[in-house]
Amino acid sequence: MVDLSVKIGDLTLQNPVTPASGAFSWEYADIIDLNRLGGLVAKTICREPRFGNPTPRMAETEAGIIQSIGLPGKGINYFLENIVPEYKKFTPPLIVSCSSEDPEEFAVLTKELSIPEVDVVECNISCPTRNTTGGNFSLNSEHTKSVVGKLREATDKPLWAKLSPNAGDLVSIALAAEEAGADAVCIANTFLSLKIRTDNFKPALGNKYGGMVSPALKPIVVRMVYQCAKEVKIPIIGIGGITKAEDVVEYMLAGASAVGIGYAGFRNPSALTSIIDDLEAWCDSRGIERVSDLIGAVDDDMEMDTLNAASAGV
C-alpha cells in the first residue's frame, strides 16, 4: 500500500489532495467524508463583512466557466465564531485563506486568524476579480515581497501564498514570496477573463471580468508549476484543472507537493474522495511506495535532434 502522505514544510498532510479555496465548504460533508481529505481549505475571508459582486456570478464558456464572486462573507468575527467550529468537527488540518487590499489590514487579519484551531494561513494575493490592475499583489514581485513580508511578521503559522496565473513572470513572483518568508506557494488562482454576450452586447458577468476555471487550463498551470519548481525551494501546491488521479500525478511530476481541486468537485461532488482512491490505486498498480517520490520526478531529459525524433514511430 502506497504511503500517500506529503509534507508541506513541517505540516504533514495524509494525502496530497485538498479542495481549492472558494470551491469548498464544510457543507460538502453532506456527500463526502471530509476526514479523508489532505486538508480543509476554507473560502477566502476578509476582515469586514462584504456582499461580494453583482449577479450573475457565473457564466459558462466554450470550455469551462468564468466566475466572479467578489469574496462575500460575514467578516472575521463571524468566521471565528461560527465557521471555524464547523471545520473543527473534522480532523484534517484547517487551511484558512484570507485577503485584503490593504497590507496593514491584511497583517492584522492574519494575526487574528492565528489561533490554535487554524493550521495554515493561506494569503490570497491573487483574486483576479477584486481589482484587475492594482491590489492583486501577486501580479508584481515587489508587491508580493512586501505584502508577504508583512504577513510573515504577523504570524507564526505556516504561511502559504496563492499566486496569480495572470502574472507574466511567475517565477520571479514565486521567488519573491519565498524570499519574504512564505512556507509554500499555491499555483494558481483563476485566469482573468471577459465574456461579452452577443445578444445584448453586455458583459455576461455582473462584475464584467471574471476568473476562468476549466480543466482546459491545466497544461498552462502545470507549466507554471514546473517552471517555478525549478527555481524555488519551498513546496508548491498545484491548483488548476485537476479532474482525475492522473492529473494529481502530473502536477506532482512537474514539482508540486500537493494539489488543490475546485471545478472537479462542482462537476462531480464525489470527485475529491474518488480521486484519492484512484491515486492510491494508481500508485499501487505501479509499485510506487511513497507518493512523495513523484514530486518533481518528471523525466525531462529530451531527445533534441529533430530528424532523429521524426524518424521514430507515432
Binding site: G22, P56, I69, K244, F266, N268, P269
Partner: protein, 290 residues
Amino acid sequence: MAGHVIEDSYSTAAIRIEDQDPEPSRPVGEFICNVATNDWVNDEYKLISLDVHEKALTAAAGQFFHLLCPSPDGAEVWMRRPMSVYRVDKQNRRVEFLYKCEGRGTKGMSTLEAGDEFNISGPLGIGFWLKPEWKNIVVLGRGVGLATLAPLSQLASDQGVGITAILSARNPDVVMSRDLFQSYNADIIEVLDTDGSSEVSNVERIIQSLIGEGKADAFFTCGSNRLLNLMKQMGKKHGIPGQVAMEQIMVCGFGACYVCVRTFEIDGDRVLKRVCREGPVFNMEEAVGW
C-alpha cells in the same frame, strides 16, 4: 460502489442503482441513474423518468437535483443544471423531472433515451414545509414553476391537507402538471392567456374567494414574478403565510461557492441568501420580487 476508472475523463464515485450506498449517513449522493422514459409533454417541455438508487428517493417536495447533462452538439456541457423533483415514485424507485428545453444543457437532456445513463446529484436544498395548522393551501404556478410545485400535491395529500391549484398558462395545451395535481385530488383552476383569465386581477379575485371560503391557510408559488408579488401582497394583507421557490444560476449546489445568491428582505434589511442552501424554498414575505 462504482469502480473508479481513471482512464475516464473525470474521476467519480457516483452510485449506481445496484451499488451499496457507500455513505449511508450522508443525505446527498452523486448517482448514475438509468433513463426509463423521456417524453414530450407539449411543444416545449419534456418529462424524464429515471430509475434511481433508493437513496435518491428521499427527495422531498421542493428539493432539487443537480443534473450533469449530456452534450447536445459534441461540445461538453460544463456545469450541472438544477431541477426540482417533479415526482418521487417510491414504488417503482423512480424520480421524475419536468423540464423546459431551452439552452444547451436541457437540449442535451432531451436527447436522452430509455436505458441511457444520467448523472444526477442530490437531493439538495430545503423544500416546502407544511405546518400542522394548515388544513387547506393554495398553490399558484406558471410555466416551469408548476414542475416545482407539483410534488406539493403529493406532500399535502400525504398529510391530509386540502389543496387548490391555480395553474396559469399561455393556452390550454401548455397547462402542465394537471394530471399530477388531479391524481392527488387537488381542486384545479386553470387560468389562461388565451381567454384573459390569467390576468392578475382575475387571479386576485380567485384567490380572494378562496380566502373567503377558508381554503387559503397558506400560499405557495413559483415561476412568475407577477404572481409572486400578487400572493405576497395578499398574504400580507390577510396575514396568510407563504412559501416561494426561487431560481438562480448555480455552481456547487452545496452552499460553498456563493454564486446562487438572491436578495431577501428581513425586518427591513436587505440580505443575500444562497438559493441552493437556504432555499430554493423561502418564506414568501422575505422574497424580493424583480
